[in-house]
């Protein structure tokens, strides 16, 4: 409920102040990325680039990062499509065709999204080597699809639970079976859930680092690994990692700004009760 009286001004001013604090890293990133290497000094960290914007950091960073950005795009797109599709079917089954034991299976599936992946990393590494999937994008895609199944299944299950069973009953009287109901009743209603799940998965996979740094050979590495390597290297000139950070962040930030409503829905649904 909005404040009244004098507190109104105070509340509003405090919000502006805090917003500025939250935007400090954004300002510093952009300012630093637009400076030439010689101009970057700690003493003038806060100042705007004196000699005009130096956009060459971005072209250098882009030419360095292009292959890794492409890897991330392929990885995130493929794994998102696959895990969302499988999640939709799983959610349909879990919400409309509960089977004996499904009430036990669901928490067991969901537990899979909380585990620390360090606890499965060694066997996973071995498994990928044995199946010759280690090191490349197909292997990473498989990994992200499988470990994405818990959240996609959970999200679709809660969306589909809201579709009244009477609708399904009516479709069944009309002669539709398992596949028909999914195709002609459920799928047409699945736009928003696919958007929420797709955004969630794409952001997660684009931002993921542990699998990326341990399971990909240099030529298949996603952008997060390339950025960490660049910034972690010796004697970096900070305009490059900052421009690189902007490039690495751009797709997910763009999604957030354009489709924030759906992003937040995924965020809240991930907290189970939220």
């Amino acid at each position: 409920m909005p404040a009244k009286g004098a507190t109104r001004v105070f509340v509003q001013a405090l919000a502006v102040l805090l917003a500025l604090v939250y935007l400090i890293p954004v300002y510093m990133t952009i300012v630093t990325s637009l400076k030439s290497p010689e101009e970057i000094s700690h003493l003038k960290a806060w100042s705007m680039p004196a000699s005009g914007a130096n956009w060459s950091s971005y072209s250098t960073a882009f030419s360095k990062f292009a292959p890794y950005l492409k890897n991330s795009f392929v990885l995130a797109t493929a794994a998102t499509l696959l895990s969302a599709s499988m999640g939709a079917i799983n959610g349909y089954v879990m919400s409309k065709y509960p089977f004996p034991g499904s009430r036990v299976v669901m928490p067991l599936i969901v537990f899979g999204m909380f585990i620390p992946y360090q606890s499965i990393l060694v066997p996973l590494f071995q498994f990928l080597q044995k199946t010759r999937l280690y090191g490349g994008l197909p292997g990473l895609i498989v990994v992200h699809v499988v470990y994405g199944l818990p959240i996609t299944t959970l999200l679709f299950r809660s969306f589909y639970a809201e579709i009244p069973d009477e609708l399904l009953g009516a479709a069944r009287i009309d002669g539709a079976g398992f596949a028909g109901i999914f195709r002609y009743l459920i799928l047409p209603l699945s736009g928003p859930p696919f958007l929420v799940v797709g955004i969630w998965q794409f952001t997660q996979i684009w931002n993921e680092f542990l699998f990326a740094v341990t399971l990909a050979r240099p030529d298949a590495q996603p952008i997060t690994v390339a950025l960490a390597n660049l910034a972690g290297g010796q004697a970096v000139s900070w305009n490059l990692p900052m421009a690189g950070s902007v490039l690495a962040a751009l797709p997910t930030v763009a999604i957030y700004v354009l489709l924030g409503r759906y992003f937040v829905r995924g965020l809240l649904a991930g907290a189970l009760k939220g």
């Binding site: 928490p107 067991l108 360090q118 907290a271 009760k273």
Partner: protein, 371 residues
């Protein structure tokens, strides 16, 4: 009713996912546990048919009480400090932001967007940016110079200072004290709740533990042959700041969603009873947010226990003052080829995360009934 045929199809369609998760989650956890009780490592790790021997709990013993496990023990201490600080600060900031936004007159959507946007970034991007900001002579330490003050000197990520130092060897001793205090507090609350029997039993327990602790018996139960000092690494603050910047928007969104589901009639009723604005917040709104706090503690807590990317990007994996078990697991496994030790660390992390997550998942699915 579903036809028999449809029920069968449903099971067949979901079966592949169930099998995949059974393998990738549960069978792999089993294999990790199995690997953690062997000596699989170094040369043997790389050969095609490595010779691996069963060594029982030796790897765990080494990690917690062995001479070479010292780094792991500090990592564990750092992880617990980080988790506690991060969860408390992120909750407090998130609740503050949500309350603030709830009282805004205009611009709610804009402010919400600003506070929440770091959530769309990766920990690697956040870490890279804050690595630059928190350099010893970096932007944050230069901040006071903008208003003419001397620059800050705090070593956000590289400080070697340690606070709240304790001797790892004496952990049983500390544990005894802690248990005694907890039992004493329980006894006190139970006596106030007029449950004299339980209170009495708890008081006796507390007294017995106190005697053990004070007499020095537990002092002699040292788990190391040598004193080993660990503590809160001050450098962790830098990681906490970056993590809170990124995740506080999430707690804000949770709390805001909670505030918005509180029925207006409840506030109205309190107002009719003469409650002030602050009283409504304190006695009507805050109590209704408790379940959200529980969810947030679990979600943030498990993120904190697993934290890896952020520290990797902010300080690199070789920087001991900010290291945590997840980082050491990576170094041991992928640099040192010590697969058994790496698996053991992974299993320790799994146990810690499970303590938070299993009760949470179990109750969510029980309370929610079918849906």
């Amino acid at each position: 009713m579903h036809s028999r045929r449809d029920e069968l199809i449903a099971i067949l369609v979901i079966l592949p996912s169930i099998v995949l998760l059974a393998i990738f989650v549960y069978a792999f956890i089993g294999q990790s546990i199995k690997a953690s009780v062997t000596d699989w490592g170094q040369q043997a790790a790389l050969s095609l048919n490595p010779e691996i021997h069963y060594v029982g709990m030796q790897n765990y013993k080494d990690l917690f009480t062995g001479f070479l496990g010292m780094r792991f023990r500090q990592d564990l201490t750092s992880m617990i400090c980080f988790t506690a600080l991060f969860v408390v600060v992120a909750l407090a900031v998130g609740l503050g932001l949500a309350t603030l936004i709830d009282h805004l007159v205009w611009g709610e959507a804009v402010f919400r967007t600003i506070f929440l946007f770091p959530m769309s970034l990766s920990f690697v991007v956040t870490g890279t940016i804050w690595r630059w900001l928190l350099q010893p002579r970096g932007g944050i330490n230069q901040l006071p110079t903008l208003v003419g003050l001397p620059a800050g000197q705090f070593l956000w990520l590289s400080s070697r200072e340690q606070r709240f130092a304790f001797d790892w060897a004496a952990l049983p001793h500390y544990a005894c004290w802690m248990l005694a205090i907890i039992l004493a507090v329980l006894a006190w609350t139970n006596s106030r709740r007029a449950k004299p029997k339980t209170a009495g039993r708890q008081a006796v327990g507390a007294a017995a533990l106190l005697v053990l602790a004070i007499s020095g018996i537990t002092r002699r139960l040292a788990i190391l042959d040598f004193p080993e000092i660990h503590g809160f690494n001050v450098a962790i603050w830098g990681v906490v700041i970056a993590a809170v910047w990124q995740q506080s928007g999430y707690t804000m969104a949770l709390y805001l969603a909670g505030l918005r589901t509180i029925p207006e009639e409840l506030r109205e009723a309190a107002r009719v009873d003469g409650a002030s604005r602050f009283q409504i917040y304190r006695y009507v709104e805050l109590p209704m947010l408790t379940p959200i706090t529980v969810s947030a503690v679990v979600i943030l807590g498990h993120i904190a226990l697993k934290i890896f990317d952020l520290i990797f990007a902010m300080a690199g994996p070789d920087h001991a003052p900010t290291s945590v078990p997840a980082i050491t697991m990576f170094l041991k496994t992928f640099r040192g080829n010590e697969f058994a030790v790496g698996s053991a660390i992974g299993v320790v992390l799994l146990v810690l995360v499970s303590l938070l997550i299993i009760p949470y998942v179990a109750t969510s699915f029980r309370e929610g009934g079918d849906q």
